[in-house]
Symmetry: C2
Subunit: 264 residues, 2 copies
């Protein structure tokens, strides 16, 4: 039985007959394969992915493809079968962060580059090196609009990050401890990811997101950091992904600033 995912915060959503991802009750996520370069790029990325074991945990598990009924009612459609990374959570809080100050690469068409450039300049992508593309608190149902999120200032991002990890209830000391614990765990994973990006020259990840997931109910499932969306991955050709790395470092610095408020 395939159904519409409850905790998706970015990308096309399978609502009102639109083509979007589906999930089953065994923890699988069915992502419609796009009928263009993006589809083939993402499929070949997943089929050929070769990273150190410590790094593979940053990617959703891949279980091949399947032709299943499309969410838009258009009949059978090929889907990537991926790990549904939020499946272990009861009430996941989810944040999708598109990393990099540039979402295009040189092999893209002029039209596509111009479109991306405009969006990158109009959003926080150029100034901050990333943009928040979706945030959701499944306990309080807090879900700021995507348009609002994408063009936040530095101060705005900082506020959203604080709110994302604070409890839905009023903040008391124990909530602060929990928020720091969540952010600390996320930071630790992001720093591991950064160490890989400082040396890996296999892939350049354009328009790729870091997905942050945690459970508000204390003591339950650990926070999670995953990379998602590989429709614009290109070969690194011996060069590190300085665009992703720069944006990741910027995002890391926002989290570090919240954890360790210091004059600067």
């Amino acid at each position: 039985m395939l159904k519409v995912p409850q905790h998706q915060v970015a990308g096309h959503m399978a609502k009102n007959g639109v083509l979007g991802p589906l999930v089953d009750d065994s923890g699988k996520f069915y992502k419609p394969l796009q009928n263009n370069d993006r589809g083939s790029t993402e499929l070949s990325f997943y089929t050929s992915l070769a990273v150190p074991p410590s790094i593979s945990s940053f990617f959703p598990a891949f279980h091949g493809t399947a032709v299943v009924p499309a969410s838009d009612g258009s009949g059978p459609h090929t889907h990537l079968i991926l790990q549904d990374v939020v499946a272990p959570y009861t009430n996941p809080s989810v944040m999708d962060v598109k990393i990099g100050s540039r979402t295009w690469h040189l092999a893209h068409s002029e039209d596509y580059i111009a479109k991306c450039m405009k969006k990158d300049r109009d959003s926080s992508t150029v100034p901050l090196g990333f943009r928040l593309t979706g945030v959701k608190d499944s306990v309080s149902s807090w879900e700021p609009s995507r348009t609002f999120l994408q063009s936040l200032s530095a101060e705005g991002v900082s506020l959203i990050l604080r709110k994302f990890v604070s409890s839905a209830a009023d903040s008391d000391r124990s909530d602060c401890d929990f928020a720091a614990e969540v952010l600390g765990a996320v930071l630790e994973r992001l720093v591991e990811l950064k160490a890989w990006f400082e040396v890996q020259t296999l892939y350049h990840f354009y328009s790729c997101s870091v997905l942050v997931v945690y459970e508000k109910e204390k003591g339950k499932t650990k926070p999670l950091v995953k990379l998602v969306d590989f429709a614009h991955v290109v070969s690194g050709n011996g060069v590190i992904d300085h665009n992703f790395l720069g944006g990741l470092c910027s995002f890391i610095n926002f989290i570090r600033d919240i954890l360790q408020p210091l004059p600067h």
Copy 2:
């Protein structure tokens, strides 16, 4: 007595009546102050520069301004008086690397952004995150053309870096040791600089260069890493300079690859 610098590798040169920098014999470098935003930006950068002591060594010392005869014969002109960083060297080898995959920022004019975008895409700036803007070996007089340098591939940059640190004579074991020693010293400084860029949110350095200087004659002056050209520095506003940091990490990775050849 002001004269034309012997070891300048990038920027406008004071030759054939062009307005360019001058040096004196006391170790000072006179940079003509531009009569526009760039001039005022660079002057205010130097006058208000406030960085930790360990970081100030990455900047040329600043000694105010002076009105001296311009190199183009146009009469008295205001110059920034800076430290002539190559003065302690007898035969300096010099490399100028413009760091960042973007040389413009959002406050620039549309015309300027379009001009930079074209140059960034046509050079190694977008693909590699930096471009070599000048290289000179004062012993062998090797000085590749700037046009050639700016659009090098990853392999090309790697070759130039190797040649930059190899002796003018045939390479023997002792030359390799010396080259590794020079690159190791440069790498160490770049890694110190990177650590600062991972946290500093004071400045964003657009179109700024890392200058690498060393002496071929063994045992003499130590290699040097300096930041130069601050005509397009803007306030960081609480955000790290992800553009400079990404490019710096990319440049660091090229040097590390040469020092520690590993399969990847």
